[in-house]
């Protein structure tokens, strides 16, 4: 996170505390989770006590204080998705990844998460990975879905072996 980025975000608000959520998103995007160092930096930059930062972080479902998988697989289990088979979709993901919902695979590639309505119920059951929404995802699709994600990860890992790793 460059000084310029921080400045640009701070300039959007009359009070610097409002920049907390946007900056938390950026920190998490860079490290995959919110490191102690990031939390210290933000509390200093925004003039907040460490408690004020942590209570915000723990309030919101999207923030993580511990490293998880490189990619998160979100499966919606709210009503519209559940009516069309979301529980079976969750179970197929658990089988295909060999983990329970809320856990991370041994190789550190994926974290599986049950989430509430993703505001895409028209394509239920819905799965979100990164910015992408997928649906309707039927239980039969899941094994292949996971294979495709693994293949994508293999490609991007290969890439990073040749490129200098971005370390923020």
């Amino acid at each position: 996170m460059t000084e310029e980025t921080i400045h640009k975000i701070l300039s959007r608000y009359p009070h610097r505390r409002s920049a907390l959520l946007p900056l938390l998103h950026l920190c998490q995007q860079e490290a995959g989770y919110l490191t102690d160092e990031a939390l210290r930096l933000l509390s200093k930059r925004l003039g907040l006590s460490p408690t004020q930062v942590v209570e915000v972080v723990t309030f919101y479902d999207m923030f993580h204080l511990k490293p998880g998988g490189q990619r998160e697989i979100w499966v919606c289990h709210n009503l519209s998705c559940s009516l069309l088979g979301a529980e079976k979709v969750v179970r197929r993901f658990e089988e295909a990844l060999g983990i329970g919902a809320g856990e991370t695979t041994q190789d550190g590639l994926f974290r599986l998460k049950r989430v509430e309505c993703l505001a895409a119920c028209g394509i239920a059951p819905v799965v979100q990975v990164g910015a992408e929404y997928y649906g309707p995802v039927s239980p039969q699709d899941v094994a292949q879905f996971v294979e495709r994600l693994r293949a994508q990860s293999a490609v991007s890992n290969q890439g990073s072996a040749f490129l200098p790793k971005a370390d923020g």
Binding site: R12, Y13, P14, H15, R17, S18, A19, L20, L21, P22, L24, H25, L46, L48, E55, V56, F59, Y60, D61, M62, F63, W74, H77, N78, L79, S80, S82, L83, L84, G85, A86, E87, K88, V115, E116, C117, L118, A119, A120, C121, G122, I123, A124, Q128, G130, A131, E132
Partner: protein, 427 residues
């Protein structure tokens, strides 16, 4: 086919939502017109006369809400667009943002001009990463074309718009929780009054409006309040985008006159029921509202008609369930959600949602007791009308309605010690 307003551009299959395409189809003409022909006061009056009511859930008249904002030019005022779209079953705002972001930006410009705001925020749900990117881009393009920033179209009116991402908390859709969140805090709803119109963001006058509400504004300005109020009923005007999901053949968003009959919406537009099954229940306004049954299919979808039928128009999210659906399981899913999302400030809500979820799960799993039915009603009764925000009521009212219409199903679970719906998803 009735005329579409908000989604008319989207009927053109090639429409990509860029500023060039938007301008070629009448975009940003309403703000030019308003800046030339209206004072802020006359614009508020125009919107009031259109009868436009908020599409976020409560249905409050938009022009009236704006009228509560103090006129003192020395006071900083804020407009916040509510793009949290967190009510389960609702998926229209994200579509409006993805496919026609400039329509929303123009709506925000008009509202800002009316209330005297120079900095507007779009609070967009955190999961909607693509939407935030699209908005950033659209804002940049609008500024390049002189529709945003300082001295817009040489009128002396200046406004900036900033998207602001949430981070996964349903409660932040509630307007005061949203404002807390925008201030960089936990999303804990505030006690009202004071209302945001007088003490909102940073305790300054603030209007919070839903995405769809704001998208209506350019059309009202260009075509006049009489045209707008000629659609719908005298009290519920214009069109509404209904998000239809569940057991229908064609789930999706349908923009229709706000008073379309439920039967027409479900059976004509959404294609009717899947697999030749029979309709069992409809949640007509997002998961927070009471359920209705087949006998209410001829109810119209406007605010008054749904209230008369014992439910609410809410967010416009219509969840349709067929005869294979277990209503105890539905209750369990809905209660689990509110339990997870309760912010915990009020005892009735924090404890009540936990007990509802626990009791419903027990019944669904075949471990229910006869006394549980009274227990459920008792919990609901204690949750209503006593809390800081309406989430507690929103959790209790649906469960009461499931018991009212499907009480025998709950009893069957208890007597048979199992869920009678073998194919239910949760089994």
């Amino acid at each position: 086919m009735s005329e579409k307003i908000l989604t008319k551009r989207l009927e053109n299959p090639g429409y990509g939502g860029t500023i060039e395409e938007h301008l070629a189809t009448g975009g940003y003409q309403a703000i030019a017109k308003a800046l030339k022909e209206h004072t802020p006061a006359s614009l508020i009056e125009l919107v009031r006369r259109s009868g436009l009511r908020g599409r976020g859930g409560a249905g409050f008249p938009t022009g009236v809400k704006w009228g509560f904002v103090p006129k003192d030019p020395g006071l900083t005022k804020y407009l916040v667009c509510n793009a949290d779209e967190s009510e389960p079953g609702t998926f229209k705002d994200l579509d409006l943002i993805m496919r026609d972001p400039h329509q929303l930006l123009e709506g925000i410009l008009l509202a800002s001009y009316a209330i005297g705001c120079q900095t507007a925020y779009i609070y967009i749900r955190g999961e909607f990463i693509a939407g935030a990117t699209i908005l950033e881009r659209a804002i940049k393009d609008a500024a390049t074309h002189g529709f945003l920033g300082k001295d817009i179209l040489g009128s002396g009116f200046s406004v900036e718009i900033h998207p602001h991402r949430g981070a996964g908390a349903y409660i932040c859709g509630e307007e005061t929780a949203l404002l807390e969140s925008l201030e960089g805090k936990r999303g804990l709803p505030r006690l009202k009054p004071p209302f945001p119109a007088t003490a909102g963001l940073y305790r300054l006058p603030t209007v919070v409006n839903n995405v769809e509400t704001l998208c209506n504004l350019p059309h009202i300005v260009l075509r006049g309040p009489e045209w707008f109020s000629s659609i719908g009923t005298p009290k519920s005007t214009g069109t509404r985008i209904f998000s239809v999901s569940g057991h229908v053949r064609r789930p999706g968003n349908y923009e229709l006159p706000i008073d379309v009959p439920m039967r027409e919406l479900i059976f004509e537009h959404a294609g009717g029921m899947r697999d030749g099954r029979r309709l069992k229940a409809v949640i007509p306004g997002g998961s927070s509202v009471p359920v209705l049954t087949e006998q209410y299919l001829d109810t119209r979808m406007d605010f008054e008609s749904l209230a008369k039928a014992g439910s609410m128009a809410g967010s416009g999210g219509v969840i349709v369930m067929d005869e294979s659906t277990c209503m105890v399981r539905t209750g369990e899913v809905v209660a689990r959600f509110y339990h997870h999302e309760s912010c915990g400030q009020c005892t009735q809500c924090r404890e009540g949602t936990a007990w509802l979820h626990k009791t419903l799960r027990r019944i669904e799993e075949g471990r229910g007791r006869k006394a549980d039915l009274d227990l459920l009603l008792d919990i609901c009764e204690n949750m209503k009308g006593k809390t800081i925000c309406p989430l507690s009521d929103a959790a209790a009212m649906p469960i009461e309605s499931y018991l009212k219409y499907f009480g025998d199903e709950f009893e069957q679970h208890i007597v048979e010690r199992a869920c009678p719906f073998a194919s239910t998803d949760g089994s």
